[in-house]
Symmetry: C2
Subunit: 191 residues, 2 copies
Amino acid sequence: MARWEPNTRERLIRAAVELFAEQGYEATTVNEIAERAGGLTKTTFFRHFTDKREVLFAGQEIHSRIMAEAIAEAPESATTLEMVGLALDGLASSFTEDRREIGRRLRAVIANSAELQERSAFKRAALSESMAQALRTRGVSELVADLAAELGVRAFYGAFDRWTSAADPRTLDAYTREVFGELKTALSVLG
Amino acid sequence: MARWEPNTRERLIRAAVELFAEQGYEATTVNEIAERAGGLTKTTFFRHFTDKREVLFAGQEIHSRIMAEAIAEAPESATTLEMVGLALDGLASSFTEDRREIGRRLRAVIANSAELQERSAFKRAALSESMAQALRTRGVSELVADLAAELGVRAFYGAFDRWTSAADPRTLDAYTREVFGELKTALSVLG
DNA sequence: TACGGTGACGTTACCAAGTCACATCACTTC
DNA sequence: GAAGTGATGTGACTTGGTAACGTCACCGTA
């Protein structure tokens, strides 16, 4: 017999999402989350997450890494926008179908809390920044890299929105290409 | 004799900026701020600001309004990017020289606190959104409006950065035009 | 088999952010 | 001059977050 149930971290996340969906983010206590995750305590929660907010965004640094690696491995001949496209492909293909429903619920919870929207905006900015950094490493000039990264992140979030709103079986991958395409035409309209 | 000193709000802001600069954001207490602002208390602080963070960002909704109005009043013939340029002109000209040093200090304080960077990212997103909304009202399509607004906000923040870093007497206005111009050429490089 | 880590958790106590109900009192208004 | 109004104070409370310290199954090793 193990002394504790395994997968504490995952249980905490599940419990948090459940409670946030039931009662809203602000109305649920860290103690409640820990309790529902199997009789745990506040302290244990904060050993796994720095924040009450972070329980919904944990492990998102991996997105930065995926995008950055895709860009680093892009062929020499690739244009800036092509590199962004490859980054989107890499990121989107890491989202399996089962994460769709989770994403849906997550979005609803975040939409009801200013505090969570703040964290979300911050994570988004971080993603954009690390993508821009990867592009700069590939020789793209600062401002162009910033703009291209912004475009990529925008495409990803837009696609994620559509993916979690829709019911059809298209993969996230398809949506990122769709939105990225629309953004590129919007870009040409603008310029 | 008045019962209380006037301009409580301004005194709170001054005290907060001073203390944050001296000791850092996290190390200073709301009680300290209120105390330095003239023997006030925590409760009074929270009557003026919803947050400890908000004391540094209060009154920023006015930026949204300035930009929105400039866009609403732009001539019928103006292109999307020209409307953004007018919004930038309007916003930049509302910053007098004395706000430069304040901005400098503010930037330093924010750069040292993740919590403040989060709030900053959120405010930036809000500014972008209200600018995009104003553009949509003028008939610009959704994605184009979003991109153009992002470009505008990026120009403003970039210009503000340079303005508060530099020592020369150029006005913020000059910097926004400079950065906006650079962004437009970056845009054409990208497309 | 005995034994000394180690890792994951609990307990307790604490600080600071934020909220709320209620009190105070100069100033205004009728 | 009495009754309101508005900006503040007081005190008590909840909750996020930190820190010091204790507990105990498990693991490796002699």
